[in-house]
């Protein structure tokens, strides 16, 4: 009897599964009307602030612009990869195979974007990179389009700016991983080409608790400035210890790509950051009306200031909307990528476009100085380099 019961139980399960499968088979007729975007972001772990900013910005964009475009309903499916490439790959596979998404998007760090690249190529769907910043990414799949930035863009500009503005001797302090090395190499190439000298070069471990010994080394090398790239979260610790050690009083300035003075954390860093000069793609203090509205709406919705990651996410979802408009709602991946190439629009960061050849972003890079505005610290832009392409492409 026992066996019989088990059998009938199994049988009823099988029936149930078959019934559900039947329903699913009927369902796609309705799914035609939705466009699915698989969003893979680090929502936990050390890069979680990146994930949260991008998610927030996308929510904001969809509140402002509605969730239908070209007659299709846009559905976002969020997956957390904690910035671990293995998890990114699994998440991308699930999204593509099970959820049948039309886009994959997000990607907090370079290894995550690279892990998903072969899947985008295979499935022929666009991969919209909204954060990761090494140059090589867009070369790894013809389906990758980027709306964030590359470290080459900002590091070369600050290198050129520094030599032209009386900074002759520089010590560098960069985190020892791919974006840090990109930042260092591009800076060095441009800085030394202009006649500058790198007197000290230190690479810090990615998980570095205490900057004291490295900073002491910088101080003893007596440079005009320190070129710094550390992941956004560590910028605050670096700046505090820089002040503690009296490097600001020793007349050693801080320059770098703008990650060290991310708007997200800038306000908590104390007055020691005043005067720090960085080159970057976005500042919450960008003086356009569009940005003022964006910052106000973001603050109202989430209680904090948007940083450069937020604006990259905002532009990423905009690009997806515009591509769908151009294809009239056709979700063929190859057509969507074609539609993205050469798109041009006004973003909260200024005018931007997608390079039709490299599918990477072309944008203004601003030189900014940390100043106090209405009692808060901001990166105030004072010089603009227009329409900067990524200089790091190996295939030129």
């Amino acid at each position: 009897m026992f066996e019989r019961k088990q059998f009938s139980q199994k049988f009823s399960w099988a029936t149930a599964i078959a019934a559900v499968a039947g329903l699913v088979a009927v369902a796609p007729a309705k799914a035609e009307d939705t466009v699915k975007v698989g969003l893979i972001l680090p929502m936990t772990g050390g890069q979680a602030s990146t994930g949260k900013q991008i998610e927030n910005a996308i929510k904001l964009y969809m509140q402002q612009n509605g969730d239908t475009v070209a007659g299709k309903k846009v559905e976002i499916i969020l997956k957390d990869d904690a910035a671990i490439p293995d998890k990114t790959k699994t998440a991308a596979q699930e999204l593509i195979v099970n959820d049948k998404v039309n886009f994959i998007a997000g990607f907090g760090v370079t290894p995550a974007a690279l892990a998903a690249a072969p899947l985008a190529t295979q499935a022929k769907i666009p991969e919209v990179v909204m954060a990761a910043g090494t140059s090589i990414i867009t070369e790894r799949s013809p389906y990758i389009v980027r709306t964030s930035f590359t470290l080459a863009q900002s590091s070369t500009i600050i290198g050129d700016w520094a030599v032209k503005n009386g900074i002759k001797k520089v010590a560098t302090l960069t985190s020892d991983y791919a974006p840090g090395n990109d930042a260092l190499n591009f800076f060095k190439a441009h800085f030394t080409a202009g006649g500058g000298e790198v007197v000290e070069e230190v690479k810090t471990p990615l998980a570095n608790p205490d900057f004291a010994p490295f900073l002491q080394r910088m101080k003893d090398a007596k440079p005009d400035a320190i070129f710094v790239f550390v992941p956004a979260g560590q910028g605050g610790n670096f700046m505090k210890q820089y002040a503690e050690r009296g490097l600001d009083k020793a007349g050693i300035r801080v320059i770098g790509p703008g990650d060290v003075t991310d708007d997200d954390l800038l306000n908590n860093m104390g007055d020691a950051v005043l005067g720090t000069v960085t080159a970057h793609i976005y500042s919450a203090a960008h003086p356009s009306q569009m940005n003022k509205d964006f910052v106000a709406a973001y603050k109202k919705a989430f209680g904090t200031r948007p940083g450069f990651m937020a604006v990259s996410g905002y532009d990423g979802i905009h690009l997806i909307y515009e591509a769908l408009k151009k294809t009239n709602g056709d979700t063929d991946g190859t057509k969507l990528v074609e539609a993205m190439k050469g798109q041009k629009w006004e973003s909260p960061r200024g005018p931007i476009s997608i390079d039709p050849e490299t599918r990477d972003i072309i944008q203004n890079v601003y030189i900014r100085k940390v100043e106090k505005v209405d009692g808060e610290l901001y990166n105030v832009e004072f010089q603009t380099f227009e329409a900067v392409k990524d200089l790091g492409k190996t295939k030129k």
């Binding site: 772990g45 205490d210 004291a212 010994p213 009296g246 997200d264 954390l265 104390g270």
Partner: protein
């Protein structure tokens, strides 16, 4: 020469900080024979309490420090009574699994309540910056760490070696049955000791926010450092972890200054060399239990 002394000073301060953070673990691991990998979570709790008091409620930093000790100790005593005491008799593996679970839960909880951004504690102006002493750069904050941690170490050693409570604790650890036969309330002694260890971690967490940074991943990021201090120092006394912390702190700072390419490997190399030389740590008892 002055840069050697500056590095020495920085190294001592860093080592002292490691000691306050880790000595609670030395107490639970060494004296109570309990593997508490959630130690860093109590440190983080102290750090966040201090941050909330100073930044949000406007308390002076020095008033918030003792409270970060007290609150971490209070959380410690609740956890000890509610959860930990059931695991004293269990295997070390059970204890590891349980406490690592607690650690992950604490990370998620703090992330949920406070967000994942790194926070800073607003320091009074008197603690900021450096002053020159015969050409040696002395950071005010680091000097304060050395003073506080130095006093604490002396006090702790006195309590353990000279007081009645110290001898009760040692008795309770060495032979709980005989100790309770002598009228020592063993569970109470353990609870108090555990809470005190957590309190020290909380104070360490508050002091370290400025130097190590404070975010929800604190317990995971620094777990390895706590364990290195305790293994290198040996867990049967307070002096062992103290000297180990100093040695590792100075070694780490000097390594990063003089051979920056070696980076974090200096501290691991030191650990390996010391453990090959003395497998039970610098001051470990051989097979005491």
């Amino acid at each position: 020469m002055t840069s050697i002394l500056t590095n020495l000073f920085d190294g001592v301060a860093y080592g002292m900080l490691l000691f306050v953070l880790a000595c609670g673990l030395a107490v639970t691991l060494g004296l109570m024979n309990f593997v508490n990998l959630a130690h860093g979570a109590f440190a983080m709790a102290g750090g966040y309490v201090c941050m909330v008091l100073v930044n949000r409620m406007g308390w002076p930093f020095f008033a918030a420090l003792p409270l970060s000790f007290v609150s971490a100790a209070a959380i410690g005593i609740v956890f000890e009574r509610a959860l930990y005491r059931h695991l004293y008799a269990r295997s070390h593996l059970d204890q590891v699994l349980f406490t690592i679970g607690l650690t992950f839960m604490s990370v998620a909880a703090v992330d949920y309540i406070q967000g994942s951004s790194r926070v800073f504690i607003n320091l009074p102006a008197a603690l900021q910056g450096q002053f020159d002493l015969f050409g040696v750069g002395i950071g005010r904050y680091r000097l304060m760490i050395i003073v506080i941690c130095g006093l604490l170490t002396i006090g702790l050693q006195m309590v353990l070696a000279k007081t009645r409570f110290g001898s009760r604790l040692r008795a309770a650890v060495d032979d709980p049955r005989a100790a309770s036969g002598l009228g020592i309330n063993v569970p109470q002694v353990f609870a108090f000791t555990f809470a005190f260890g957590c309190g020290l971690a909380g104070l360490g967490g508050a002091l370290s926010a400025e130097i190590l940074g404070l975010d929800p991943y604190f317990p995971l990021k620094f777990m390895i450092y706590f364990l290195i201090v305790v293994t290198v120092g040996g867990s049967s006394s307070i002096t062992g972890p103290f000297l180990a912390s100093l040695l590792l702190g100075i070694g780490d700072v000097a390594g990063k200054y003089y051979v920056p390419k070696m980076g974090p490997f200096v501290i691991y190399t030191m650990m390996i060399v010391i453990l090959i030389w003395r497998p039970n740590g610098l001051f470990g008892r051989t097979a005491a239990r």
